[in-house]
């Protein structure tokens, strides 16, 4: 058996190290280390509750709005506030803009450049893939960076800037949109739709969203030449490399549900276990500290009673990341989980055929770009002139609240306790905390650790590229993971 230690991983947000035990040319065991600790949960203790709106977005520069949104919901929950319809629409738009931009950055800047690597020089698709996706110099890279920047003008108007806005409030948005501004925002979305339809999809968003089975996706892929669009290019590469056989975890998925509109989420809440959707019981969430550099009891703690106290000397620890579990079991979160739990027929069929894997995670993310942008157009048209964007209330001296939302990378939860008007406890479980968790006290590995087992690896090659595809297919955000 040989042991590989891989790092620093780049084109993930933050720093990452992966340890692999390799036997007979395959990964026998994996251990994932989140090597950076900053201590946000400790920083928040003793602060005024509203200070969470300044501090928590700065956990992460790529999911900044998602962190704000979870904090706003936790505060609103503690204050008993109900957001008015315009506030709901505006905050949905702000979060959706970040999520779509993140999916786009992931595909073009983080994930696809690995197919331009020289290790694939013998493949028929390598030359067009390298021309389009080579890091920093690919043609697609040069197109997508300005397209993304132009799209984020939405947040200049809706949120003042991105990242790190304070527009999001517990009771809605502090930036009312005037009638004239709404038209400008629609123009920005229309411009971005054109980029997506011409470059990413080579088809209308509606036709992408209407793909309803694995067979329909294959037929769509073959209806035009391989690099007629970037999605088609990816599907050809995925087919040739068998990316649907790479990076499967245990096929248990969770989504908190996304983008509420007058009482019901645009993407449903639930868990997907054994091929069916079930109700999510959030009381089943607890964090295990057995393999983290954290002091605390042997028993897993629910986040409302969680503690964060670094302890470099903990035996068996190998990461700063805690191990969250749902009813004692691991779950995978992200766009694939979200679209699956929502019952999108393409994703349901893809997972039925081949489970959660590198290809299906990427397809779900791109499908979600199409579906989300269509929702954004609808929300913009639904803004009601003259009606309020925000309501206000008082924080009781003693209160508790939880904010559960969906960030680009999956389920994000904030649990807050206020005592005598100050934050007495603040616990965060981020999407990558779920996906890149270390082992728990029963020895069960986290989702990525499971997904890496069985991966073919040539021990003579440094930094096996298959491992990189699997790691990046989760779109990890390491700065959120430990926070």
């Amino acid at each position: 058996m040989t042991t590989l230690s891989l790092g620093p991983f780049n084109r993930v947000e933050g720093d990452l190290e992966v340890h692999l035990d390799v036997e007979d040319g395959r990964v026998a065991a994996a251990r994932v280390n989140s090597p950076l600790f900053r201590g946000f949960e400790q920083i928040l203790e003793g602060k005024a509750p509203t200070d969470a709106m300044v501090i928590t977005p700065r956990i992460c520069g790529i999911c900044s709005v998602a962190q704000s949104m979870a904090a706003a919901r936790a505060l609103a929950d503690a204050m008993g506030l109900d957001v008015p319809p315009n506030g709901e629409l505006a905050t949905n738009l702000i979060l959706a803009a970040e999520n779509v931009a993140d999916h786009l950055s992931h595909f073009y800047l983080f994930f696809m450049p690995d197919f331009a690597r020289d290790v694939y020089a013998g493949r028929g698709w390598h030359a067009p893939a390298a021309e389009r996706f080579r890091a920093l110099s690919g043609r697609a890279t040069a197109e997508v960076i300005p397209a993304r920047a132009a799209f984020l003008h939405l947040l200049g108007t809706l949120a003042g800037k991105w990242p790190h806005t304070l527009t999001l409030q517990p009771g809605g948005s502090s930036r009312a949109i005037e009638t004239g501004e709404r038209v400008r925002l629609l123009a920005i979305v229309a411009h971005f739709r054109r980029f997506l339809e011409e470059r990413l999809f080579g088809d209308t968003l509606e036709r992408i969203a209407a793909l309803d089975s694995a067979a329909a996706l294959d037929a769509w892929r073959d209806a035009a030449s391989p690099f007629a669009s970037d999605l088609r290019g990816f599907l050809h590469v995925a087919d040739d490399l068998g990316l649907e056989r790479l990076g499967r975890a245990d096929d248990r998925f969770m989504s908190y549900g996304a983008y509420p509109c007058e009482g019901s989420p645009t993407f449903a809440q639930g868990v997907w276990i054994d091929g069916t959707r079930r109700v999510l019981d959030v009381d089943g969430i607890a964090e295990d500290l057995s393999h983290a550099w954290m002091a605390g009891p042997g028993e897993p703690l629910p986040p409302a009673r969680g503690i964060t106290q670094p302890d470099m000397d903990r035996a068996d620890a190998y990461s700063w990341c805690k191990a969250p579990r749902l009813a004692g079991r691991t779950v995978e979160v992200g766009a694939l989980a979200r679209q699956l739990v929502d019952g999108h027929p393409l994703i349901v069929d893809l997972v039925r055929v081949s489970g959660g894997n590198v290809r299906n995670r990427v397809v779900a993310r791109l499908l979600e770009i199409a579906r989300t942008l269509m929702s954004m157009e609808r929300w913009l048209r639904s803004l009601r002139a003259g009606e309020p964007y925000c309501v206000f209330g008082r924080m009781p001296a003693d209160a508790e609240g939880a904010g559960l939302i969906e960030a680009a990378r999956g389920s994000l939860g904030h649990w807050l306790r206020v005592h005598k008007g100050r934050i007495s406890s603040y616990q965060i479980i981020a999407p990558t905390t779920w996906n890149f968790s270390p082992r728990d006290r029963g020895g069960t590995p986290g989702a990525l650790e499971q997904a890496l087992v069985g991966t073919p690896v040539d021990p003579l090659v440094d930094d096996p590229v298959s491992v990189q595809h699997i790691v990046r297919s989760f779109d990890p955000c390491m700065v959120c993971t430990v926070h």
Partner: protein, 335 residues
């Protein structure tokens, strides 16, 4: 053809938001800007192909001088804890604290650049009880020192250049790098906190769309109101150094235009203002933080005068989400 200007970018105790903001550069966009000035990214954690052993090989070549380094850019605070070991951030795959890498590489760089308030002064990571003993490259809050020490000078003889901001505006970073690549950066281009003066010689107040409300002390009472946010909502735009309201963010934005207070994020210790961020601390009804360079007696006198003179339009609109009374149109024929 000018020679290429090499940049190594490292991230430590921060959020990566300054990189995410950098990608928002426009007219020209980021890649066009870099290539137009011969700026070559040796490695960037979000943008480069190289990963794992390719990176550690590069770092070793830079440390031993085999490969020259023009600019070392550091994003995120430097984590000295626990107990001075730096183990709160071990650079992945190297089993070595990031602060040790930064100390060694800064000895090789012609210029060392702190990107963002975390790398400049410690920033949000140093807030509260500063659990990781976070500091900036050459400052610990407002105190000179930090990781590299007050006497540090890079190969070109300059102290660390502090592009402070949380996050940084993309053009603050690109224009600093362009100035360096042109060989035009010297200490006169930096303010007393070594922030580039091209943005730090301005106040956020300059160009604020709420200036009419400020003039009449017509104040917002709650977030979402259109009035001036200085009196009640913690806004420090009249004291904060930055050109946010003239340069603008993501097209047409800025904090005050987005409906929220300036929190003075380009300043050391902004993370610990000594009061809740969203509330203005006052003594006898007068805000403690007065507009920069304004004598207190004059501020109080002018404020009471202008409050008395506030037009009804301004007074009403100040406490609403949207314009309730539009400005009068002059020169219309009488009814």
């Amino acid at each position: 053809m000018r020679r290429s200007f090499s940049v190594l970018w490292l991230q430590s105790g921060g959020c990566g938001g300054c990189t995410m903001s950098l990608l928002n550069a426009e007219s020209p966009d980021l890649l066009a800007t870099l290539s137009g000035f011969g700026i070559h990214l040796l490695w960037h954690p979000s943008l480069s192909e190289a990963s794992c052993s390719d990176v550690t090989t590069l770092l070793r070549r830079l440390c031993d001088g085999t490969e020259p380094l023009d600019a070392l850019c550091v994003e995120g605070s430097l984590l000295r804890g626990p107990n001075g070991t730096g183990r709160f951030h071990m650079l992945g795959g190297t089993n070595r604290p990031m602060i040790d890498w930064v100390r060694e590489l800064s000895g090789r760089a012609r210029y060392t650049v702190a990107v963002g308030t975390c790398a400049a002064f410690g920033g949000i990571t140093a807030a509260g009880n500063n659990p990781t003993d976070a500091c900036g490259l050459q400052y610990d809050g407002a105190e000179p020192g930090g990781l590299l020490g007050a006497d540090y000078r890079s190969g070109a003889g300059l102290p660390v250049i502090n592009i402070a901001g949380c996050p940084t505006h993309p053009n603050w970073v690109t224009e600093t790098l362009m100035t360096l690549a042109l060989g035009e950066m010297d200490e006169t281009a930096l303010d007393a906190l070594r922030r580039p003066r091209m943005y730090a010689d301005h106040l956020v107040h300059h160009g604020c769309t709420r200036n009419e409300y400020y003039e009449f002390k017509a104040s917002a009472e709650k977030p979402s109101d259109m009035g001036c946010m200085m009196e009640h909502l913690g806004c420090k735009g009249t004291q904060a150094h930055g050109d946010c309201n003239t340069r603008l963010w993501n097209g047409e934005g800025s904090c005050t235009r987005g409906g929220y207070a300036c929190i003075n994020c380009t300043a050391p210790n902004f993370e610990e203002p000594g009061h809740a961020f969203a509330v203005t601390p006052k003594i006898a009804g007068i805000p403690i933080g007065l507009p920069t360079d304004m004598p207190k007696a004059w501020f109080v006198t002018l404020a009471s005068l202008s409050k008395a003179a506030t037009p009804r339009r301004v007074k009403v609109n100040a406490v609403h989400e949207r314009t309730m009374i539009p400005p009068t149109i002059h020169g219309l024929p009488e009814d």
